[in-house]
Every structure is written in structure tokens, then in C-alpha cells.
């Protein structure tokens, strides 16, 4: 009898976590507007505060551990801005309401969810006592707004830098395209592209324009609705003029020699089931979020015909974007790879509650458990960026710094993100498109 009870216990827990704690309208409201009761605060912190090596300890609890270490080591300093609303598009919020409590977790961690239609699958506040709270947040991220139903970054500059001397080793000029094939809420067709027999949920397509040895290199990643299914990835090498299917291992490889692996894209670019997710608590943390048009922008970048200017970089080795950081309500989330041979032992995310993205200030730990890299992606408010982005209802990724603390090296990114469905036709995300180029 005791054995039966022990066997039933996990099922009971699953039932409790998956269904018993039903989310409410208030949860939805709190999830998309966590600042309804007022903006967060931290002692001594106010807009205009500059946090540097000298005063960082005073704000240690308002910083991610990785960011704290970077500042403590004098590698850069941050300027604090006011906390602002990054309202998610109404269509996504409405979809969350319409489909509230329809999503159920699988029987055990790593299993596919069921019942998901659209919007944020688990809008309720995570409960530290819920052993699967982290997993729910991971699903929220997978089906989050991220780049909305689709967007393009064109161009997208990556720079490889020696952090010790600032030497620019390589610069890549890309286009990045993102498209959700399913669970769409805003752009036609809603809710999905059909037919879609493989069940592609989302795809990322990239094409390099510079330097010459990478020119016309293209990457296509197809992620499937079925989380148990491995991503399909294809690489077109311009110098070979041939499409190569990538083996799965290459997503944890230093992508084209950069400090990023494909798995790092957008904060985390992998399956939910590839990681063991743990919710570590809720707190207020500084994240890089700003109004692009109000920043002092770079004057050393190629000119854009529309006058667009990129976020500037400075700090040690010019590895750090120069944008404002604002105090945000975050969920601290840890992800440990299921695969013991994974080069990463743990990722720590500070998930912005309002956007539920994962890329504000991430820590990546090596297999020995040492802090290896800090990945920071600054987000611009869509209404204070390019005109085409006005009303997009997402946080527009605007600049990134991937800092390798062990090799003293960094890769930086400067975005021109455009939420423009016309520039993102589904045919770009077919393998054949890779072959049809130059």
C-alpha cells in the first residue's frame, strides 16, 4: 500500500502543479503589467545613477551576479534609467486571456505540454514550492513574444574583440530573420501557416554579407512544435555553394568562431526538454532596456539610408553597449543541461516578468561550474525605435555583449531590428531558399 501511495505521489504533484493552481484574470494582469502598483525601487538607486567599480557593492542585490562581477572588475559601468512600461502587444495578451488554463504540463519534466493554443501558457506568478515552476517559465519563454510573430534584423553587425586590448578581430554583417509558423497572434495568417506537416513552430534564417570569407553563408534553424523533436539546422557555405545539414552538436559549438553558440541565440535557443529548469525566486534587478532614440548612438558605424544609427559601445575593449539599465521585476531562472557532455553546466537567467524574455543579463557557467560568459542583450522600446516598429508590442533587441571572462574576449552585436512582416516571407525559411542565392 505504501508503494502505491509513493507511486501516486508524483502524479498528485503533477496534477496540483498542472491544474489545481488555476491562473486567474488577475494573474494575467499582473503578468503583463507587473508595475500596476508602482515602479520598483532600490535604496540609493535612481535615474541617472552611474554604477561603477567604486559603488557597485551598494547595488549588488540589484544586479545579476555576472553583471556585478563585470562592474566589480572595472570592465564597464552602467547608467541607470527610469523603469518604463514595455507593454506586450494586445493580441498576445488577449490570446493569453482567451486560452487561460488550457495548457497542461506533461506528466514529467521534459514532456511536451498539451492544450496550448496561443499567448502566454502559464501567466500565473511562479510558486517557489512548485517543483515545475521553472519549467513553466521555460514554456512561457518558448511561446513568448520574443520577436513577435516575425521580424528581421537587417543589418546585424557582430564584432569579435580582444577584451584586453580592444583589437577588433572580425566583423560580420548579417541579416537575421525570425518567423513563428504556429501560435501566431498578430500578423496574418493567425494562428498559423498551413500546411505545416512537420509541425515547425519557429524558424530562424540568417545570411552573412561580410566578411568575404563568410559572404553568403546562410543558416536555417527549424524548431518544432514537438519539443521532443530535435531542431533541424542547415548551413549554406558561400565558399562551397552547398547546403550542409548540421549535426545537432554544432549548436553548442562556438558559432563561426564567435563567443556565442547557436544555443545562446536570443538568450536560449534550444528545446525546453534539453534543460532542467529551476525557478530561484523573484526580485528586482537592473536590466538593459531603453528608448533607442534617446541614446547617444554610435558615430563609427556604416551609415544607413534611413538615417538609423546603432547603439554605441565602450568600456573595456569596447565590449559593452552604452544604453541605460532600468530596475525590472525579474524571475531568476536556472537551466542545467540534461546532457552531461554539454559544455555548459548551468545558465542563469534574469527573466523580465513583463516580456518574459531570457536575454537581459545571463550567466553561463562552464563544466567546472566557473562563470564562463556573461550575455547581455539590451532591449529598446518598440515605440522609440524605427517607425516601422511602433506599436509592435515587443522589446526590440538592440545591442548585445557576450563577454567571455575566461578568455578575456567578447563578441558584440548591433541590431537594426524591424518588425515588418513583408520582409519575412515564409519561403525564406525553406531549405531551398538557401540554395537559390549567390
Amino acid at each position: 500500500m505504501k508503494r502505491i501511495a509513493a507511486a501516486l505521489l508524483p502524479l498528485c504533484v503533477a496534477g496540483l502543479t498542472g491544474g489545481a493552481m488555476a491562473a486567474t484574470e488577475a494573474d494575467v494582469e499582473n503578468s503583463f503589467n507587473p508595475y500596476k502598483a508602482g515602479m520598483p525601487s532600490f535604496p540609493g538607486l535612481k535615474p541617472g545613477t552611474v554604477i561603477n567599480k567604486g559603488n557597485v557593492d551598494q547595488f549588488k542585490d540589484a544586479l545579476g551576479a555576472g553583471v556585478y562581477r563585470l562592474i566589480k572588475e572595472g570592465l564597464f559601468e552602467i547608467k541607470v534609467g527610469a523603469t518604463t512600461q514595455f507593454s506586450v502587444h494586445k493580441a498576445y495578451v488577449d490570446a493569453t486571456r482567451t486560452n487561460l488554463n488550457k495548457t497542461k504540463l506533461g506528466a514529467k519534466a521534459g514532456d511536451m505540454i498539451s492544450g496550448y493554443v496561443a499567448g502566454r501558457p502559464f501567466p500565473e506568478e511562479p510558486d517557489a514550492k512548485d517543483p515545475r515552476a521553472g519549467e513553466k517559465l521555460a514554456w512561457n519563454y518558448k511561446y513568448g513574444v520574443n520577436w513577435g510573430d516575425g521580424a528581421i534584423i537587417s543589418p546585424f553587425y557582430w564584432k569579435y574583440r580582444n577584451m584586453q586590448n580592444g583589437k577588433l578581430e572580425k566583423q560580420i554583417k548579417w541579416d537575421f530573420h525570425f518567423l513563428n509558423f504556429m501560435h501566431r497572434t498578430k500578423d496574418a495568417p493567425v494562428p498559423e501557416f498551413t500546411p505545416n506537416p512537420s509541425g515547425i513552430f519557429r524558424a530562424i534564417y540568417t545570411k552573412a554579407h561580410e566578411p568575404s570569407d563568410l559572404k553568403n553563408t546562410q543558416l536555417l534553424i527549424q524548431r518544432f512544435e514537438d519539443d521532443a523533436k530535435l531542431d533541424d539546422a542547415y548551413l549554406y557555405l558561400g565558399f562551397q555553394r552547398r547546403v550542409r545539414r548540421l549535426a545537432q552538436g554544432q549548436v553548442t559549438d562556438a558559432f563561426l568562431g564567435s563567443d556565442l553558440m547557436i544555443e545562446d541565440f536570443e538568450g536560449y535557443n534550444g528545446r525546453v526538454s534539453d534543460m532542467s529548469w529551476t525557478y530561484k525566486g523573484t526580485k528586482n534587478v537592473l536590466l538593459p532596456m531603453w528608448n533607442h532614440n534617446e541614446l547617444k548612438l554610435a558615430d563609427d558605424m556604416p551609415a544607413e539610408a534611413d538615417g538609423y544609427k546603432y547603439v554605441d559601445f565602450a568600456g573595456q575593449g569596447d565590449c559593452f553597449f552604452q544604453g541605460e539599465w532600468q530596475l525590472r521585476k525579474v524571475y531568476v531562472l536556472e537551466a542545467a543541461p540534461v546532457n552531461p557532455n554539454h559544455p555548459v553546466s548551468k545558465r542563469t537567467f534574469y527573466m523580465d516578468v513583463q516580456l518574459q524574455n531570457l536575454n537581459g543579463a545571463n550567466e553561463i557557467y562552464d563544466r567546472k561550474g566557473e562563470l564562463w560568459k556573461v550575455f547581455m542583450v539590451g532591449k529598446a522600446h518598440a515605440d522609440h525605435h524605427l517607425p516601422v516598429n511602433k506599436g509592435a508590442g515587443i522589446g526590440v533587441d538592440d545591442a548585445f555583449s557576450m563577454v567571455d571572462l575566461q578568455s578575456k574576449h567578447c563578441t558584440t552585436g548591433q541590431f537594426k531590428g524591424q518588425v515588418d512582416p513583408a520582409k519575412n516571407p515564409p519561403r525564406l525559411f525553406q531549405v531551398q531558399n538557401l540554395r537559390g542565392g549567390d
Binding site: E169, K170, P211, V243, R244
Partner: protein, 655 residues
């Protein structure tokens, strides 16, 4: 001795072309606008120096290439892409003793005697007109006593001396100087074989306008409902298949092996052709994630692979030398080593006159609608993620076929006939070939690997075959490659970047393969009925991808020949790349390469019958063998180049 004024004059068109490309960035804005879109011309100009030092030969390449790649988004959805490429290889002047105007020299010719191998000056017989007339009273014989001023013993090398000794086999003289210096044996074999020094130095500036490397326009027409029509028209490369190095399906464009043998990326050595391709991109269906139907019409005038002119550093299989030597034999005659079997154990060098043996006509298909080439490919991705293609192509063989038993004058009697079965009197043809094939790739998650498979069946290819009176046969062929790519963390190379380990196994089977044992040795087809070639690539990435060491191994199992090509690539800056490397070959199967050379084919019966032959009135091969000329097909491109070990340095700079 090359004089500066001459050099200057020949370089003028190259300098002009390079000036144009150099100037591109400056006046890119002045290029004509295409359509309504104001997007400017995008022009990238790169310079490359590729310098090679070859064991035993010295400098084997000092090639300077300037390339301008330009793109323009024209109006109405059209885009234009072009690549202009011009090069100048200084090796012909800097190592003129080996590859230029002073290459070659006077040679000797070998005879086999009971006392051993004996060398005598080329042109000196001992089998001559006088000897045959005196010994047999054949007053009308067509042998010669010597060669005149039009065929001197100068500027010559012995066929095959780049990769083997004569050693009692067939050999003859090969003129090796550029064709404006020595026109003997010069023929247009299809873009090579008749080139002057300036054309060897700057091969892009020819009548096919190869300096326009690519120039095409493309557009995607939306048909609605997720379907598109993709059109790409112009001078271009169309790449089929999924494997590296091997060309099983990738046969739409011919390849220029003269550039760097098999050691350059195919995209650099495919010869772009004027092609129209149309793809009906159907997108997904209820059962397939992607479906595409492609039609490829190569409407360009036929071009074969460039196998490299004899006397230039890269003559794959040494074929260009065989062709040139044979053409010279036809045109001017020449001494053939170890030929006349006048007594047991005695094979004497023989002075053939013109029009008796050799290579006469080259039949390059002219432009006509029926000579164009057409292909269809269906490419798709299944619901389960299997990516595959089905391919069909009708094309012209890019490798030449020598049809023997042709017209000639009987060396012994002086009688002319339009056909002499089994006679090594050849014409060169490029037969039509039909191909059916397919390819696929998929992941093997448990092995963390991606697998690529490619296979093709061809009908119409021709092979040397000494069992046939025409000395060739048509055979159907099956080829397949399986490749496995596995990214692997190798900590001593890099702890953050995987090292790519990529292995491939190529298989070829020739149907209806003929091979039989004659009285003196094997007779039939020198190509192996079944052969495997394996390749292994190990490529690492260090220093954030700026340093990339790699090594490629290739092993021809039947030829027992191996190539190793290590190199290190260093991206010094975004615009400057240095590559240092080598290729080194090993061959342990040289004794397997010798094959029937048709010395014992007895085309001029009974005079050419082997000494003591039981059937001296019948022409057929008895199988007397040597390394030339057919050993090259058994040695393959690795074995036939096993003495060409290279060290190289390459510099690329983008302006």
C-alpha cells in the same frame, strides 16, 4: 629570354582589366541604375596571391588574382550578381625552365634488349625507314630515318616522366613549351591544349570571356498560396548533390583542374556556363514540408573539363601530355620507345612518320539546340525531416573519349585506310551521357552526426577498352558517396569550438566491365570495375575562429595511392587571410597501374604481331603492358600526381 617590352605588351590587357576592377569601388556609384530601386551597386574587390613550391620542379605557381564581385538589387524584384576575375601566373616566366619557353629539352628514347634497357637519342630509331626497307624490302614503308626542323629533339619531355620511369614501356616525346613557342601537338581539346604563354599566364582572357566569371539575374515570382517561381538566368554555377570533393551529381558545370588540380574548392574551379534555371517552389503540402521542382537548361556552347595543358604545372592524370604527345605523333610523327618486337625480349624504339598513329581530330560539340544540356531535379523535405533530391540530367561528357582504330597510313606498306581496327589512331569525342540520381541527408542524433548520401547512374560514358577494335566501349556506371559529418570537441585543439570530422566513402561500379587475360597480360578496360576512394577531413577552429588548422586525407583503395593535405588558415584581420599548407602523396600500388598498351594489338598484320605470335594475321590485343598510356586511369588523379608534392602559401586581401 623574355624581354621586358614583350612582357609589357602581353600584360596590357590584364593590367587594363585589373585597373577596371581596382577602380570599381570608386566609380561604383556611376554604374547604370537598373530598375526603380535606388539600392546602390555593392562591389567587393579581393586580391589573392597563391604561391606553390613543388618538390623536384621548384616554383609551380605564382598566381595573382584580382576579383570583383558585384551585386545590385534592381527594380521589380530582380537582382543582378556578377564576378569578374582576372589572374596572372608568374610561374611561366619565373620558372621558365620547367614550365615556360625554356621547358623541356633533348630527350632519349628507350629500347628493350636482351642485354637490358638501352637509351638512344630521340629520332634515331633504331627502327627507321631504312632499317625496315633493308630488312624486309618494304620500300613503301612510312617510317622515317629522322625528323626535320619542324620536329626537332628540343623542348621535349618523355611522356609520363613526371610520375614514372619508362621502364620498358611505351613512351614518346611530348612538347611542353607554350604553343606560341612550340606549336607541335597543339590542339584545342576544349579550352586548353593550344594556349600561348599569355593565355597560360592569364587564362581568363580568352574567347569565352572567362574574366566574366559569373553574371546572372534572378527573381522570385510569387504565385500565391505559398508557391513561388524562382528564375535565375545567366552565366552561373548550378550545384547539385551533397558531397564534398566528389562530383557524382555535381556535373552540370565542367571543372578547371588546371587551376590547382583537385586541391581547390569546387566553387573556385567550376567553369560557369550560360544557364537558365527555373524552380517551381511549391512549399509544404499535407505530407511534405518542402517541395521544389527545378529545371536547368545549360544553353551555353559545350565546354569540357580543363585537364591542363601539357607543360603547365597542373595537368591532371598527365592527360594533357598524353593528348599533346599523341597529336604530335599524328602531325609530325615521332619515336616510340620499346615498340618493335623484332625478337624475343627485344622491343626497339621506332621512328613513326606522320599520319600513322596518334590523335588526329578533336570533335568538340558545336553550339546547336540538340547539343545543349538539360536537367530536372525534384528536391524535398519529408514530414520526418529527410531532405532528398531526385535528379535527371542529359549532358555531354566533360571528359574526352578517344575513339581508336581510325584512319591511318600503314607504317609498313604505306597503304592508307579509313579504319584500322585496334590501331592507336584516335579521334577525340565528348559523348552524350544521361544521368539519373538522387541524394539525401539526415541527422543521426545518437551519434551526433549528419549523414549525406548521393548516388547516380549514368548511361553513355565511354572508357578505354583494348578488347574492342575501336579501343573504347560505352559502359553504364553507378557512383555513390556516403558522407558523415561529426562535430567533436577535441580539447587540445579547442575547448569551445568543435572540430569537424568529416569522412566520405566514394564507390564506383562500371557495368559490363571487360577484363580478360591475354597471352601477354591483361586486356580490356584499365579502369577498375569496382573502386572505393575514402576521404577524411579534420578541421579545427582556434582563436575565435581566426585560426583554422585542417588536414584532408584521400585514399584510392585500388590504386593504393594516398594524398594528405594539411593547411592552416589564419584570418589576420577581417580583410587579410593567410593560408599555409602542403599536399603530399604516397603510392604503394605502382605495380598495379601497368596495363595493356596495345603494342601487341597487331593492327598492321602481320608486321606488328609480337615475335613468335601464333596468330600473326589477326588484329587484337595480346596484352603487352606498361605504365603508358593507360596506367593513368588505374593510378587515378592521386597516383598520377604522386611525385607532385607541393608546399604553398596563399594570401587573400579584400580592399
Amino acid at each position: 629570354m623574355e624581354t621586358f617590352p614583350n612582357s609589357s605588351r602581353r600584360l596590357t590587357p590584364i593590367v587594363a582589366a585589373l585597373s577596371i576592377t581596382c577602380a570599381m569601388p570608386a566609380w561604383a556609384d556611376d554604374l547604370p541604375a537598373l530598375g526603380e530601386d535606388p539600392s546602390p551597386w555593392q562591389v567587393d574587390v579581393t586580391y589573392e596571391n597563391h604561391t606553390v613550391n613543388r618538390e623536384h620542379a621548384g616554383l609551380a605557381k605564382f598566381r595573382n588574382t584580382l576579383q570583383a564581385e558585384f551585386d545590385k538589387k534592381a527594380g521589380n524584384g530582380w537582382a543582378v550578381h556578377g564576378i569578374m576575375r582576372g589572374s596572372w601566373d608568374g610561374v611561366y616566366r619565373m620558372n621558365s625552365d620547367e614550365y615556360g619557353k625554356k621547358a623541356g629539352g633533348a630527350i632519349t628514347t628507350q629500347s628493350t634488349t636482351p642485354g637490358g634497357l638501352v637509351n638512344s637519342p630521340w629520332g634515331g630509331g633504331p627502327v627507321t625507314y631504312s632499317l625496315v626497307n633493308g630488312a624486309f624490302g618494304l620500300v613503301n614503308n612510312a617510317f622515317v630515318d629522322s625528323y626535320g626542323a619542324n620536329n626537332p629533339n628540343d623542348g621535349l619531355r618523355i611522356l609520363g616522366d613526371r610520375w614514372h620511369k619508362t621502364n620498358g614501356g611505351v613512351a614518346f616525346a611530348v612538347p611542353v613549351r607554350p604553343c606560341d613557342e612550340d606549336k607541335r601537338g597543339c590542339r584545342d581539346f576544349g579550352g586548353y591544349g593550344d594556349q600561348k604563354l599569355s593565355e597560360l599566364e592569364s587564362p581568363e582572357f580568352n574567347d569565352r570571356l572567362d574574366f566574366v566569371r559569373e553574371l546572372y539575374a534572378r527573381k522570385t515570382f510569387s504565385l500565391g498560396d505559398g508557391k513561388d517561381l524562382f528564375v535565375k538566368v545567366g552565366k552561373q554555377q548550378v550545384v547539385w548533390g551533397r558531397t564534398d570533393l566528389f562530383r557524382v551529381l555535381d556535373v552540370i558545370n565542367p571543372v578547371d583542374f588546371s587551376r590547382n588540380n583537385i586541391y581547390d574548392e569546387l566553387s573556385d574551379i567550376r567553369i560557369p556556363m550560360w544557364i537558365a534555371q527555373v524552380e517551381y517552389r511549391m512549399g509544404a503540402s499535407e505530407t511534405m514540408q518542402d517541395r521544389n521542382l527545378q529545371f536547368v537548361w545549360n544553353f551555353d556552347k559545350f565546354r569540357p573539363n580543363n585537364l591542363g595543358q601539357c607543360g603547365s604545372p597542373n595537368a591532371i592524370l598527365d592527360a594533357g601530355c598524353f593528348f599533346r604527345g599523341m597529336a604530335n605523333l599524328w602531325d609530325n610523327g615521332g619515336t616510340v620507345a620499346n615498340f618493335a618486337n623484332v625478337a624475343p625480349g627485344t622491343l626497339l624504339a621506332t621512328n613513326f612518320g606522320p599520319g600513322q598513329i596518334g590523335l588526329n581530330e578533336v570533335h568538340l560539340p558545336s553550339w546547336s539546340l540538340k547539343n545543349t544540356q538539360f536537367g530536372v531535379k525534384y528536391e524535398g523535405v519529408t514530414q520526418g525531416g529527410l531532405s532528398f533530391s531526385l535528379n535527371a540530367l542529359t549532358y555531354r561528357s566533360q571528359l574526352p573519349s578517344l575513339h581508336g582504330g581510325k584512319r591511318a597510313t600503314n607504317s609498313f606498306t604505306g597503304e592508307y585506310r579509313n579504319a584500322w581496327p585496334y590501331l592507336i589512331s584516335f579521334d577525340m569525342h565528348y559523348p552524350r551521357v544521361n544521368l539519373l540520381g538522387g541524394s539525401m541527408d539526415f541527422q543521426v542524433p545518437d551519434a551526433n552526426a549528419a549523414v549525406r548520401v548521393e548516388a547516380a547512374f549514368t548511361d553513355g560514358e565511354e572508357f578505354a577498352n583494348t578488347a574492342k577494335p575501336e579501343l573504347y566501349s560505352k559502359n553504364r556506371v553507378f557512383r555513390a558517396v556516403i558522407g558523415v559529418d561529426r562535430p567533436t570537441f577535441i580539447p587540445f585543439i579547442s575547448e569551445t569550438s568543435t572540430t569537424l570530422i568529416s569522412g566520405q566513402l566514394f564507390y564506383q561500379h562500371i557495368f559490363d566491365h571487360e577484363w580478360q587475360r591475354g597471352s601477354l597480360g591483361p586486356v580490356g578496360m584499365p579502369d577498375w570495375e569496382n573502386n572505393f576512394i575514402g576521404t577524411l577531413l579534420i578541421k579545427g577552429f582556434m582563436k575565435n575562429g581566426t585560426v583554422s588548422p585542417q588536414i584532408i586525407f584521400a585514399h584510392d583503395f585500388k590504386a593504393r595511392a594516398t594524398a594528405m593535405a594539411p593547411q592552416v588558415e589564419w584570418n589576420v584581420t577581417n580583410d587579410l587571410k593567410l593560408t599555409v599548407g602542403a599536399n603530399y602523396k604516397l603510392a604503394s600500388g605502382k605495380d598495379r597501374w601497368e596495363f595493356d598498351d596495345c603494342r601487341a594489338c597487331n593492327p598492321f598484320a602481320p608486321f606488328t604481331a609480337p615475335n613468335g605470335d601464333a596468330d600473326p594475321m589477326t588484329a587484337y590485343s595480346r596484352g603487352l603492358n606498361g605504365m603508358e598510356p593507360l596506367g593513368r586511369f588505374r593510378a587515378g588523379p592521386i597516383g598520377a600526381a604522386f611525385k607532385e608534392n607541393d608546399l604553398f602559401i596563399k594570401l587573400n586581401y579584400k580592399f
